[in-house]
Amino acid sequence: MPCENYREALIEAAAAHSEPSRELRSHLDACASCRAIFTEEVQLFAAIDTGLRAIANVEVPASLLPGVRVQLNGRPVARRSWVPASAALAAAAALVVVLVCFHDFGRDAAKLNPRVNSVAHNVSPAAVQPIPPTPAPYERGVLPGKNKTLRPVGTQAALEVEEVAVLIPPGQKQAIDALLVSVQKGKVEADVLLAEKPTGTLEELQVSRLDISPIEVRPLADVSGESTPLNEGTRR
């Protein structure tokens, strides 16, 4: 068989790094030129493999992973809220406004609703129930209610936040959320949310009983022309 017929088998054996078939082997034993070509092909494929290994196993620069970590730390880990950090102050102001609104709302309601007034005025002093005792003032750093520790923050003590429903103006929900998150992260001190502990003691309010003199009923004065002694007295 001519050498050309073995050419393809020869290259494939070199490429696959496999032993030549029996037929090819016997040809190579007999043909010096094909043997030389086969040796060249084996060397060529070995050089390709070496070159590929050199390309594929280059040393990784030491700066690769630190660079990635820097960029990872640079980008926001959590989905960042659109409310900026400065919104905490705005939220604190909003809380104050809410408290003031509640305060005024109570007064306004009494003014606007006459039934409230009339009912209040019709109650006799005896029917007024004694005011329940005021709860003890809250300690600083702890809010009232069934306290639930949410998460220890960077400060020494864990911040405890009450889980209660709060009425706020509709546009301020995000701001309140941002404020609470900031408080829990320790970015804003919880003290700003707390009322001062009153120093003095509250005394019971004393209400004295109203003394109303009996009403004197008199007939109407004559309007024909004669003056009454009372009118005379006023003229003088």
Partner: protein, 194 residues
């Protein structure tokens, strides 16, 4: 009168903490894989781009992209394969755009960019021919060649990484090497004659 809504601020904060905790766990998991697969991304990029600085840029970009989408990766065991594809795709894109840029630049200035000392030291004449021959290969063949040549990758692993049958990987590898040999045969003869 002012309209009011009822909220539960504690709930919102808890939700935020849960999100942050999940994000931290995700970051830890990604960090573990980063140490293991960072080199893989770099080597894939380097194999395509033949330039250390570009490869580092691309590898970093690939790792950052992988992190951004890590949450969406359902099967975390497929991370290596996924990262290889991201790095390879980014490197191919970078190579194409730099080729376009090179063409534009040579129109203005005939001086080609000088390779760095490191690049010069790493490339012999044969290696340069091999790089060029690799560039002419189809992408699917190039990726198989690179992954199979990486230390510690068996053909089974390459097949798993590329989600291909073992037979396909073998045939692509064989075909790619034969194509390289055809392109390099004349160069080997000229180099050998010197």
């Amino acid at each position: 009168m002012q309209e009011l809504v009822l909220i539960q601020p504690g709930r919102a904060a808890e939700k935020e903490f849960a999100q942050e905790a999940a994000q931290a766990a995700l970051r830890r998991e990604f960090e573990e894989r980063l140490a293991e697969c960072g080199s893989l991304a770099y080597r894939v990029a380097r194999g395509v781009l033949r330039n250390g600085a570009d490869a580092e840029d691309v590898a970093q970009e690939a790792l950052l992209r992988a992190y951004r989408r890590f949450e969406r990766l359902r099967d975390r065991t497929r991370f290596r394969a996924w990262l290889v594809r991201i790095a390879f795709r980014l490197a191919i894109d970078r190579a194409r755009s730099s080729k376009r840029r090179e063409v534009r630049e040579t129109l203005w200035s005939q001086t080609a960019p000088r390779p760095s000392t490191e690049d010069l030291a790493a490339t012999s004449e044969f290696q340069r021919h091999l790089d060029r021959a690799m560039e002419e290969l189809a992408e699917k063949h190039r990726l198989v060649l690179l992954l199979a040549a990486m230390q510690g990758h068996s053909l089974e692993e390459v097949a798993e990484m590329l989600d291909l049958p073992m037979g396909t990987v073998k045939s692509r590898l064989f075909f790619a090497k034969k194509q390289l040999a055809e392109k390099l045969r004349c160069h080997v003869k000229t180099i050998g004659k010197r």
